[in-house]
C-alpha cells in the first residue's frame, strides 16, 4: 500500500486537492482510503465517503495535543488501510500547530498552502513546509499571475528541494501533477520504527496536564518565558 501524509493550514484546500486526485485513481480502478486527523471537529471523512465512495475515517484529538495524538495512532491507521484493501492511503492532518509537522521519513509528504495566505505565510509555516517533498499551492484562480509567481518563489526560499506546483482545488486543474508523482512513489510496507522528520515539542508543563489558570503560581515543569527587554 502506498501512503502519503498531507498537511497544511486550515482551509488551504487539502481535502479539495485530495478529492480531485483520488478521483483520478478511482477512474483507473485503484482503491484508495482516507484518514483525517483533526483537533475538535471535521466532516472531511464524510466528504471522502460521499464524493468518492471510498472508505474514510477521522480521528479527533480533543483534549490531547493533536500532534502527539496523530503520531500515537499511525500504526492503527495503517492497519485500517490494509483492512480496506486500499492501494493508496492518504492521511490528511489539520489542527496541528505549525511548530510541528506530521511528515515522516520514508513516507511521501505533501503540504498544501494557498495563495491567499499572504506572501509572508511560507516563511511562517515552519517544518510542515520546509520538510515536505511536494508543495501544492492552491487558490491561484483568485490571484494574479504575478502573485502566483512571487508566492512560489517564497515557497522555494523555504524549501528548495520540494516539487512545488499550482493547482486549483475547485476545478481540479493541476492535480494531475500530484497524481503523476504518486504513481512514481513506492509502497510503504510499515510505519513502525520510521522517524518523524521533525521532533514534537517537549511539552511537560502544568498546562499539559489540565491546568487552566493564568499566572506564575500555577506554572510548573517546562516553562519558558518571553524576553521582553532589549527587543526594540
Amino acid at each position: 500500500m502506498k501512503v502519503i501524509t498531507i498537511a497544511g493550514t486550515p482551509s488551504s484546500g487539502k481535502t479539495s486537492v485530495l478529492l480531485h486526485t483520488l478521483n483520478l485513481f478511482k477512474a483507473e480502478g485503484i482503491k484508495t482510503a482516507a484518514v483525517k486527523f483533526d483537533a475538535l471537529a471535521t466532516q472531511d471523512h464524510d466528504l471522502y465517503q460521499r464524493r468518492l465512495g471510498i472508505p474514510a475515517i477521522r480521528g479527533l484529538s480533543d483534549y490531547v495535543c493533536p500532534d502527539h495524538y496523530y503520531v500515537s495512532n499511525l500504526e492503527e491507521v495503517l492497519a485500517w488501510g490494509h483492512e480496506q484493501g486500499a492501494a493508496l492511503l492518504v492521511i490528511e492532518t489539520a489542527g496541528l500547530c505549525f511548530r510541528c509537522a506530521p511528515h515522516i521519513n520514508g513516507v511521501p509528504a505533501v503540504t498544501v498552502i494557498d495563495n491567499l495566505s499572504g506572501l509572508g505565510a511560507p516563511e511562517k509555516m515552519g517544518p510542515a513546509l520546509k520538510l515536505a517533498d511536494v508543495v501544492a499551492i492552491t487558490k491561484g484562480d483568485l490571484v494574479s499571475q504575478a502573485e502566483k509567481e512571487v508566492f512560489l518563489h517564497r515557497v522555494r526560499q523555504v524549501n528548495q528541494t520540494a516539487r512545488a506546483f499550482h493547482c486549483n482545488g475547485l476545478t481540479g486543474n493541476g492535480v494531475l501533477a500530484l497524481k503523476r508523482m504518486i504513481d512514481q512513489w513506492p509502497e510503504v510496507p510499515s510505519l513502525t520504527g520510521l522517524k518523524l522528520r521533525y521532533s514534537m515539542p517537549a511539552s511537560v508543563c502544568s498546562y499539559c496536564t489540565g491546568e487552566i489558570r493564568v499566572g506564575r503560581n500555577f506554572q510548573t515543569g517546562n516553562v519558558v518565558k518571553i524576553h521582553v527587554a532589549n527587543q526594540n
Binding site: V143, V150, R156, Q157, H166, L176
Partner: protein, 267 residues
C-alpha cells in the same frame, strides 16, 4: 534564517518556439476532426465556440502538459523547450482569467519590484517598462505609488497583462475570457505578442476573435478546424471596432452622469 543563492530560485524557463497539441477525443469519445494544433511563439490564436464547447478544457490541457492522461486524451508537444515535463515550478503557462485579482496589499511599485526581483530581472528598467505598457492599455493612468487595491478593474487587468508580457517567466500565455475588462484589446494583444510567446485566447468577443490571425473552432469538446482571418474579415473587424468604440463612448458618458445627445456621430 535560510540563506539561499538567487541562482537556485528562478530557474530560467526556456522560450518555446512553438507548442503543438495532438488530437484526442471529443465529449462523445469520437476522434477530433482536427488532427493537431500548433501555435508559434509570438503568434496568437483565438479559441472560439459556444458555451461548454471545451475552450477552457483545451487551455487546461496545455497548462497541465497533457500526455494522453487528461479527459480529452490530447498530448502536448513543445519544440525547442524543456524535453521532459517540468514537475517543478509554476508550470509552463501564465494564465489570465476573469476571476483573477490582486490580493496583495502594496503599492504598484513595490509589487513590481518584488516580482522582478524573484525573476532575477534588471529591476529599474523593467518596472518602468511594465508600467508604461500597462498605461497604454487603460484610460486612467496607473501611478507607481498607487495601492494595488484601489486600481480599477481595467487598470488591474492592464497591469496584469503588462506584467505577464514583461516580467513573468512562463513561456506560454493563456487568456480565458477578458472581454469586459475595459482595456484596449488590440494593444493588449500586440504587447503580449511582442513578448514572443505562444498566446491562446478563449473568448466570446467577436473583436478578439478576429484580432488573432487564426482561430480554432471548438464543438462538443473537440477541435474542429482552424480558420485564418481573411482580408474581408479584417475589414469587418475595423467596422466592429468602430461599433465597439461607439458603445464604449456611450457607456462612459452615461456612467459619468452625462446624457446622450440626440444625434451621435454616425458610425
Amino acid at each position: 534564517m535560510l540563506q539561499i543563492k538567487t541562482e537556485d530560485l528562478a530557474p530560467e524557463v526556456p522560450r518555446m518556439a512553438s507548442i503543438t497539441l495532438l488530437a484526442g477525443r471529443d465529449k462523445s469519445g469520437r476522434g477530433e476532426p482536427l488532427p493537431q494544433l500548433s501555435v508559434e511563439a509570438g503568434q496568437s490564436l483565438a479559441v472560439v465556440g459556444p458555451t461548454g464547447s471545451g475552450k477552457s478544457e483545451l487551455l487546461s490541457d496545455i497548462e497541465q502538459w497533457a500526455d494522453r492522461d487528461t479527459v480529452t486524451g490530447r498530448r502536448l508537444v513543445v519544440s525547442d523547450g524543456p524535453t521532459g515535463r517540468p514537475h517543478d515550478g509554476g508550470g509552463i503557462v501564465a494564465r489570465l482569467s476573469q476571476k483573477t485579482s490582486f490580493v496583495m496589499d502594496s503599492s504598484v511599485e513595490h509589487f513590481l519590484h518584488i516580482h522582478a526581483e524573484c525573476r532575477n530581472r534588471g529591476q529599474e528598467t523593467i518596472v518602468e517598462q511594465t508600467l508604461d505598457a500597462a498605461n497604454q492599455l487603460c484610460g486612467e493612468p496607473i501611478r507607481l505609488g498607487t495601492s494595488l487595491q484601489v486600481l480599477s478593474g481595467g487598470q488591474s487587468r492592464a497591469l496584469m497583462i503588462a506584467d505577464i508580457a514583461f516580467i513573468s517567466d512562463a513561456p506560454v500565455v493563456l487568456i480565458d475570457e477578458i472581454e469586459n475588462a475595459g482595456i484596449d484589446k488590440l494593444k493588449a494583444l500586440s504587447i503580449l505578442s511582442a513578448s514572443d510567446k505562444p498566446i491562446l485566447v478563449a473568448t466570446h468577443d467577436p473583436i478578439l476573435m478576429l484580432m488573432a490571425p487564426r482561430r480554432l473552432v471548438m464543438r462538443e469538446g473537440g477541435m474542429q478546424r482552424v480558420i485564418e482571418t481573411s482580408p474581408e474579415e479584417r475589414e469587418r473587424l475595423a467596422e466592429l471596432r468602430r461599433m465597439d468604440a461607439h458603445l464604449c463612448r456611450a457607456r462612459d458618458l452615461i456612467r459619468a452622469g452625462d446624457t446622450l445627445q440626440e444625434r451621435e456621430p454616425a458610425l
